[in-house]
């Protein structure tokens, strides 16, 4: 019961922010906020695979692409018709569009989850570097396939997607992925994932079905990447394969690594930081990528565990440490 109250409260808060924010800030800032949110969803979902379960997945953009395209096709074929019908029945625009977007996101996420399953299953026998390369390969194959299928636009992509994404839905996505990650982490299933990360052989010897859990991590991670993709396409009004290259995958990996693999709050912070950074560096746009690559290298050399290591941002823990710093060790 208490849970439902929290949930209702959060949704109400989101709705309030969703209405107030666009009036309070200029469109550019709004755009940055929305991109931050989308990147947070990507980072936290990848953290499930890389951080919690210790699987090297560097093809996340592929899942995002599947979600983006699937949700777009759904919207353009079915969604817009629903909205028209609902509005004709008198439903307010935001409600009809919101419902259609939700459906589209679920379709996109669902199909991305299927892709996650297909990628996760055969990759299971591989470890470390090999797994990384295969996930990279799958990400690229998805992109090349999209390039070659003319029915979904090929190299030109698809345009004319209605702008249904707004602060509320992005916020809802962030809330969902963070909640799922957090609940998972503090459960026996999450412990199973961490065990697989720390020592797969021991985990298996103690009764953890490592195959099932690794695939589960991929499926859930891919689902949310797909949702992020759907939000992305319904914001930019157009999709094409160039948005989902290996570079995008690396950007998401960088966020997870910068934040600290396994740390949800770390992923959130890093995603926000790395979304803001290009905006801040806009004046030196040409040097941006050089800065970015140097940052990656320096980060790995100096602090490979990232900002948070595998710990979470937690107020009680922080206060405890302050107190013990003044008392006996």
């Amino acid at each position: 019961m208490r849970q439902l109250i929290w949930l209702a409260g959060s949704i109400a808060a989101l709705a309030a922010i969703g209405v107030a924010l666009p009036r309070a800030v200029n469109p550019y800032v709004l755009q940055v906020i929305i991109m931050c949110g989308i990147n947070v969803i990507l980072a936290v979902s990848l953290n499930l695979i890389n951080g919690f379960t210790g699987q090297f997945s560097i093809g996340h953009a592929g899942f995002m692409a599947v979600g983006a395209y699937a949700s777009t096709v759904f919207t353009l074929q079915i969604g817009v018709k629903w909205v028209a019908a609902l509005e004709a029945l008198g439903a307010p625009g935001w409600l009809a569009q919101g419902a259609a977007l939700l459906m589209a996101l679920l379709v996109g996420g669902g199909l991305a989850a299927v892709a996650g399953y297909l990628v996760g299953l055969p990759s299971l026998r591989l470890r470390g570097d090999y797994l990384a390369i295969v996930t990279l390969g799958f990400g690229e194959i998805i992109r090349v396939m999209i390039l070659n299928i003319d029915a979904i636009g090929g190299a030109r992509g698809i345009a004319g997607i209605p702008v249904w994404t707004n602060v509320f839905w992005v916020g809802a996505g962030v809330l969902a992925v963070v909640l799922v990650s957090h609940h998972l982490a503090h459960s026996t299933h999450g412990r199973a994932l961490f065990a697989i990360r720390d020592d797969e052989v021991a985990a298996e010897a103690l009764g953890v079905d490592t195959t099932r859990y690794k695939v589960m991590a991929f499926v859930i991670g891919a689902f949310f990447a797909g949702v992020a993709g759907g939000l992305f396409s319904h914001y930019l009004t157009a999709v094409n394969p160039n948005s989902f290259t290996f570079l995008k995958s690396i950007e998401v990996v960088a966020m997870v690594v910068l934040g600290g693999m396994g740390s949800i709050s770390g992923s959130v912070m890093a995603a926000i930081l790395l979304t803001l950074a290009p905006e801040v560096l806009r004046p030196v746009k040409d040097y941006r990528m050089v800065f970015y690559s140097i940052m990656l290298i320096v980060l790995m050399i100096t602090r490979p565990q990232g900002l948070m290591g595998s710990r979470e941002l937690s107020l009680p823990a922080f206060l405890r440490r302050r107190r013990s710093a003044t008392g006996p060790a």
Binding site: T188, A195, D198, D199, V201, A205, D209
Partner: protein, 252 residues
């Protein structure tokens, strides 16, 4: 069990009666850990069968075998280093958890109850191994002796019928191994579990094992009570040495 051209374990016939404390010894490289790996499903035997209560289990995946009631510790400690002691032990309880994924995500009452009972059982197990004070400490931060005990606690938490201990006394000083010996005997009684023990520390082996099998180059060269093994000429020869003879023969 054959790896390429190497027969790591061959023609091994080993029967461990229920409730027994059975020792498995032999020089380094004799194939003892390979036997453990065969039992727990890490390897599938290239020939032969592994039976648990007359049921064949060879070729099954390790986690299935764990569900059937066989857990183990490892020669080189394999703890979940970033997790707390309690979490390490909780993992073993995972197979007995009834709450599914959806329960966990939505936090149903069933999930909360499950978690509470898991934690409680973990704490009990830690208490048995005298680690309850360290429940929240990261496994990697424990001193070596306590890490070994944590591994045993974890294996026990899986509620096994057969517990495999791979050199639990390795690296322990004589006092610590004495304590370990008593602990293992205690465990066997308290939890009514069959124990198969690999050890090099002869004091521990002779002290607590009821029956011992000796492996050398993958072949069983002797089996019997500690007394019989102590005086078996083939065993002494395998270990090559008067020091070992003194170890086996001298009273401790």
């Amino acid at each position: 069990m054959q790896f390429g051209g190497l027969k790591a374990v061959s023609e091994l016939e080993l029967t461990v009666p229920s409730g027994e404390l059975f020792g498995l010894i032999g020089p380094n490289g004799a194939g003892k850990t390979t036997v453990f790996n065969l039992i727990t499903g890490v390897y599938a035997p290239t020939a032969g069968r592994v039976l648990l209560d007359d049921q064949p289990i060879q070729g099954l995946k390790p986690h299935v075998i764990a569900h059937r009631g066989i857990t183990r510790t490892f020669q080189n400690i394999r703890l979940f280093s970033t997790r707390s002691c309690r979490d390490n032990v909780c993992i073993a309880g995972h197979q007995h958890a009834r709450a599914g994924l959806l329960d966990a995500l939505v936090r149903t009452r069933r999930f909360e109850q499950d978690e509470r009972s898991l934690m409680r059982q973990a704490d009990e197990m830690l208490a048995v191994m005298e680690l309850e004070a360290r429940a929240d400490v990261r496994a990697a931060d424990l001193p070596y002796g306590q890490q070994r005990r944590l591994e045993i606690a974890r294996a026990l938490a899986g509620r096994p019928r057969l517990l495999l201990l791979d050199e639990p006394a390795a690296g322990l000083n004589p006092q610590e191994s004495d304590g370990l010996m008593h602990l293992i005997e205690d465990i066997r009684h308290r939890f009514a579990v069959t124990i198969l023990l690999i050890e090099h520390d002869m004091r521990v082996v002779m002290g607590i094992c009821r029956r011992i099998a000796v492996l050398d180059y993958g072949v069983k060269i002797a089996e019997g009570t500690p007394e019989q093994i102590r005086t078996d000429p083939r065993v002494i020869e395998a270990y090559l040495g008067e020091e070992v003879h003194a170890d086996l023969g001298g009273g401790h």
